[in-house]
Amino acid sequence: MPLPLPLPNEALRQAEELNRRIVESTGDCVKILDLDGRLVHINAVGLQTLEVADASALLNQPLAGFFEGDVRTAAEDAVELARTGARGRFQYQMRSGSGAAKWFDAVVTPITDANGAVVQLLAISRDVTDRRREEALRASQHQVLEMIATGRALSDVLDRLVHLVEDHFDGMLCSVLLLADDGTTIRHGAAPSLPEDYVRAIDGLSIGPRAGSCGTAMYLGTRVIVTDILTDPLWDDYRGVAQRFGVRACWSTPIFSPQRKVLGSFAMYYTEPRTPTDDELRLIEMAADIARIAIEQQRAYSALRHSEARNQAILRALPDWIFLTTFDGVFLDHHANDAATPQTSPAVFLGATIKDVLSPTVAGVLMQAFARASASDDTEIVEYRMESGDVERSYEARIVRCDGDKMLSIVRDITARKQAELELDAHRRELAHLSRVAMLGEMTGALAHELSQPLTAVLSNAQAARHLLDRDPMDLEMLRETLDDVIRNDKRAGAVIDRLRSLLRKGDAARQPVDVNEMTREVIDLAYGELASRRVAVTTTLPPTIPPVLGDRVQLQQVLLNLVLNACDAMNNTHAIDRQLALSTAANNGFVHLAVSDCGVGIPDGQLERVFEPFVTFRDQGLGLGLAISRSIVTAHGGSIWAENNADGGATFRCALPIAHPAG
């Protein structure tokens, strides 16, 4: 760019002056070489770097001659490139008089005349020691973090971390100590460069307010700088050990968890008394930070391993089969302990679908359960039966969604439980039957009366008919009426016998929809004689219609009959005109409610639940099994039965039975 300069000579002088000042004021080492690469000029920074007083001994020396080996070749190549008009570059290391290594980046460029011919070469060396150290540090840091990420052992990671820091500073020794879970005991972490005996001497000591640099740093939770171990009171108790191994300065910083819990310490040692530089302080914090990540990660890994081990132990102890499938029923994985091997070999079913392996019925049940479990997030429990060899066995599958789109099925063989349930059910039925027989036995008098009424009518009508036959003329109208009454009363007796027979039946009756209103009327009919002979007045409050419940009609009648007879017993000592029995039914919240209220003596305090226990009775007669059996019947129907005392005297027994679902 043309500058507005007054005179060529003056301009030249000014330009040279400018150049000289640039060269002398730069922090870089500037050299001017002739075309053979020999030194023509070197600036003051260059002399300082080379640690020589003046340039005379260096002038006319070839640049490459300052170096050896590969670096010399690289320097020669760079000079050659510059001579051809290009830009040469090479890097080299130099040790200063103090022995510290320094790295330089050298760039060699051509100096041309007005015609563009190369006349001299310019070599500029820049001190890149700091940059290279930073790069090396970053690389090592990265390496350590990679070790942590790949789950390498904590001791390996900490060893590498210690080396990383030690490499960065000449003569520095580092150690990592860990604080045990008890919060006081010091444990060895990593100290690859410290003498083994020293490391052993520290392991197991306790932290405290005067426990060397590390023990104190962990105790106080702050960085502790001890410049000279020989004089610092923190080392009073440990000075001997330190002296024996020749350490003099020790700086330690605590390693904190994210919750500010002390995990350990990172320490730097020197064999002479020293105060840390900013660089060293920066690095000790960085090292403590990386150590924290390593320790935390190791703890997380260890927790995971423990949890994994626990899960494995649970799995080993479970008697169940566990299957992992996709939502579509493809078997992905399974678990079975030795005692419960699945019928089909895993090689066959893994990868196949439920529909391939199991019968269409069972597969259908499971797939529907999958759909429900997937939609609800709840555990679905289904039961099914399968042929196993020659026998049919029962299974229960608990199905839950896991990992988002997979299904976990825990399958248990419940054949034995099912068998026990069946036997229990049979016992319960047998007991219920015996109880019905006993109950009807108590009603014998009333039932005899119920039969004798129509039989009396039949006999009297039949004998009346014979007399009417003798009349002349015969009153045929009266005769027909009389015979109609014979038939009607015979049917009436038959109905009494039918009711008795159904109650005495030993039942494995199928569950069927039962109209509780109708059942209530039947029970009142059956107990009519008993109620009449005990002079008990009955009122019923039945809604016009009531949803059906699903159940064993006879057993439900038994429950109600038992409640009615109990109510009568409770009113034995009540004045005859006050003997009121109220029966009512209602439907709400999915249940049909049945209530039997009496005006009797009520139930003693605290006995409302006890009356349902076997052999507990407040009556003069009976074994005290009626209510226990009633409860077992109601419970088997999915309902509940309980007792309450009325505010105005007497007791009410309530029974809730689930309404039958229309679909069955």
């Binding site: 008098g445 009333a446 005899a448 009366h449 119920e450 004798s452 009424q453 129509p454 039989l455 009396t456 009518a457 039949v458 006999l459 009297s460 009508n461 004998q463 009346a464 008919a465 007399h467 009417l468 009349r471 009266m478 009389t482 009454d485 009607r488 009363n489 009436r492 004689g529 009449a532 002979s533």
Partner: protein
């Protein structure tokens, strides 16, 4: 007892079938029979009968209670008790008051025999 000696009788029983059938039998045998569903209904009408056939178990006053009142009354009407429940308690109660009692079902002969016995036992006025 035959058609030559018709009697005035009353049947008190809350069971319509029994009441109707017994009354029909006694009518067919030639007697004049009136029926009542309860003791109160019977007492509400001033009827003079030769014998009352009384059910032991009645709503309101029982047959035994009614019998007591009849005995205390000036008429001193003979009573036959009938019952569907032949338990010891009922039999003993009847025996204690020296009243014929027959258990259901009974035939015509047993009924007429009891009526005759009741009339025979009743104190003559």
């Amino acid at each position: 007892m035959d058609r030559a000696h018709p009697m005035k009788l009353a049947v008190v029983d809350d069971d319509n079938d029994v009441r109707t059938a017994v009354a029909r039998l006694l009518s067919a045998m030639g007697h004049h029979v009136r029926v009542f569903p309860s003791a109160e209904d019977f007492e509400a009408e001033t009827v003079v009968v030769d014998c009352v056939i009384l059910d032991v178990r009645l709503p309101g006053a029982t047959g035994l209670e009614l019998r007591e009142r009849l005995r205390r009354g000036s008429a001193r009407t003979p009573v036959v008790l009938i019952t569907g429940n032949g338990d010891r308690l009922t039999l003993e109660a009847a025996a204690a008051v020296d009243t014929p009692l027959i258990t259901k079902p009974f035939d015509a002969a047993k009924l007429t025999g009891a009526i005759a016995a009741a009339i025979a036992a009743a104190p003559r006025t």
